[in-house]
Amino acid sequence: MSIVKRKAKVDYPCSLLLTILILNSMIGRYVTHPLTLRRIACMRRKVSFRLASTQLSVQQEESPKEKRRKRFIEQKGLPKAVDRGQFATTYRPFDGHSFQALSGLPPNLQNFTVLGIESSCDDTGAAVVRSDGTILGEALASQSHIHAPWGGVVPGLAKEAHEAEIDRIVQEALEAAGMTSAADVDAIGVTVGPGLEICLRVGATKARALAIEYQKPFVGVHHLEAHILMARLPYDSASKQLEFPFLALLVSGGHCQLLKCTGIGDMAVLGGTFDDSLGEAYDKTARLLGLPVGGGGGPVVERLAREGDPTTIPLSVPLQSRKDLDFSYSGLKSNVRRVAERLAKEQGVETPADLSHSIKANIAASFQHVAIQHVEQRLRRAMILLEEKENIRSLALVGGVAANQVLRTRIEGLCRKRSWDLWIPPPRLCTDQGTMSAWAAVERMRVQSTDDPTIPDVYARYPFAQKL
């Protein structure tokens, strides 16, 4: 089986463009004529287009048709495209260098309770958490005891689009905490982005209404920050807390990123996936092999992999030649599919799902080994960078895939070798749920930051603001 090496090579015409670009940008300072400026902008986009197109691509001669297509895009698409910020709103809870408590703060900042709501995607969750990290009560729609024949792959999904569900989940969480209504908590937090707009609205509308009705301080939580901050949840009063600044590796079905975390509201993405996330790669492997994906594809592949030999099937580690912090799993996904289909043919069965248990176990093990190697390579590079430049030696491993034992063990090893501290929330706190919103709200209030509940916005896209 041939293993294709991937190179991102900047070809000759491109480097010429780069030179022109650099010269132009130097001249640009002194040139103000609109037509020249527009030409410079066009040149920048052209180079940007060429560079982006050579990303991840195999070194191959372009066919005349391929060249014609690229020329068409450059000539037609680029000049017309207006270079507006993609993002109308970034997450920026501070103004300049200071936080603002737009809806006030709990009376006792040493000891307060928060009702947190999370409904950004698949599921709806609510939880009551105390500021010392104690979880007083929780509820999750997908695990609700009320039996309903929802069917479908994502049972929580159907439920949480109904507004009646949010009332029930919030009530369940409050009652589990020994409370009767939101009047009994000191503050309310809810995920306001990123996520699916219509889902975010269900949770946010409820939370805002409660905050206004009961006059409670309100926090609009950032979903990814909430995942990361779970690594700072104190699990008991004796344990040390993870302190800023630290490196975070967020790996789940929907996310695959390395972030430098300098403070609340101050997180920078160092690298992320170009295509598929790690959790997704696991899930797709599970489906390819016909494994039951009810509890998530990841855990079932992990279990099967324990019975397999990771050295049996050669798979190339993604992005080996790229010296940066980005990820890519779509190539590995395709690779696994091809190998599985070839094996199926060799074994005389119809699909990879029909392969023997031991062959499937070998595929699962080999896939997992390479998927984690990719993480190790990117992580190690990030660690070296941050050790040298910022003297950071703490890593937070968060998101649903943090529950994977093999990943944890390998990252523990990497941290030991480099004398880094590693912080991983307990597996059940790595998935989407109310506790993450509640704790993130606690953290925001600790730095005296709250939001205005009368502003009804939710943000499907909600990138972190660049620190100025």
């Binding site: 041939s2 294709v4 986009r45 940007s48 560079l51 982006a52 197109s53 195999v58 048709k65 391929e66 014609r68 297509r69 690229k70 068409f72 895009i73 037609k76 698409g77 680029l78 017309k80 495209a81 207006v82 270079d83 507006r84 993609q86 109308a88 995607c121 929802w150 069917g151 479908g152 792959v153 994502v154 999904l157 159907a158 949480e160 689009a161 109904h162 699916l196 707009e197 219509i198 889902c199 789940s252 079905g253 929907g254 992320g272 170009f274 295509d275 598929d276 996330s277 959790g279 997704e280 899930d283 797709k284 779509s330 190539g331 996904k333 395709s334 599919r337 091809r338 499907a460 896209r461």
Partner: protein, 181 residues
């Protein structure tokens, strides 16, 4: 596949009413559906470094592009890139995607449209893009050339878009079949 997406986006945003366009992307795992979508979104926004990742777990990713009409008035247009791979047949699974509104007012790119069997999808501006591996010896690698089978309704704006593409010979090497529904 990225360039194909970029070209279609470019031409679609030129039409009088790009909103309501629904592109259904079909193809096996790794065929290039997300690559197509990436090129499309980058072409529509003009941002060639924009991260366009797979929406398999997030279900839908939203992007904002600008279009300019014939009176030079600019407005925002939303592109929803969805992946229905994880959803079941239960119609309630689709509620969070707000499809009625999205289909009408935004541009939709949908991977795994086979899951839409119980959902009403407006057909008047639909484009079906079926991405296939094309190899003489049954191999199927990253480098195997791709072929496209496109179909769209008679009289829709896709017709004139594809006419322009034919006229400029942009997809001659990839188009296996174009048909009108």
């Amino acid at each position: 596949m990225e360039d194909v997406g970029g070209i279609l986006a470019s031409l679609l945003l030129d039409t009088e009413r790009p909103e309501g366009a629904i592109i259904l992307l079909e193809g096996s795992l790794g065929a290039g559906k997300t690559s197509f979508a990436r090129g499309f979104v980058r072409g529509a926004t003009g941002d060639w470094n924009l991260r366009v990742t797979s929406p398999t777990f997030l279900l839908s990713n939203t992007y904002r592009a600008r279009k300019v009409d014939e009176n030079n008035v600019e407005s925002d247009i939303e592109i929803h890139h969805m992946d229905l791979y994880r959803l079941g047949d239960h119609p309630e699974d689709f509620a969070p995607l707000n499809l009625d509104v999205v289909f009408r007012e935004c541009v939709s790119l949908i991977e795994w449209p086979v899951r839409l069997s119980n959902v009403t999808v407006p057909t008047d501006q639909q484009l079906n893009v079926d991405i296939r591996h094309f190899s003489s010896d049954d191999t199927d690698t990253e480098d195997t050339p791709r072929r496209l089978v496109l179909s769209y309704p008679d009289g829709s704006s896709w017709g004139s878009i594809l006419d322009q593409i034919h006229h400029q010979g942009l997809l001659d090497d990839m188009l296996m079949l174009t048909s009108k529904q």
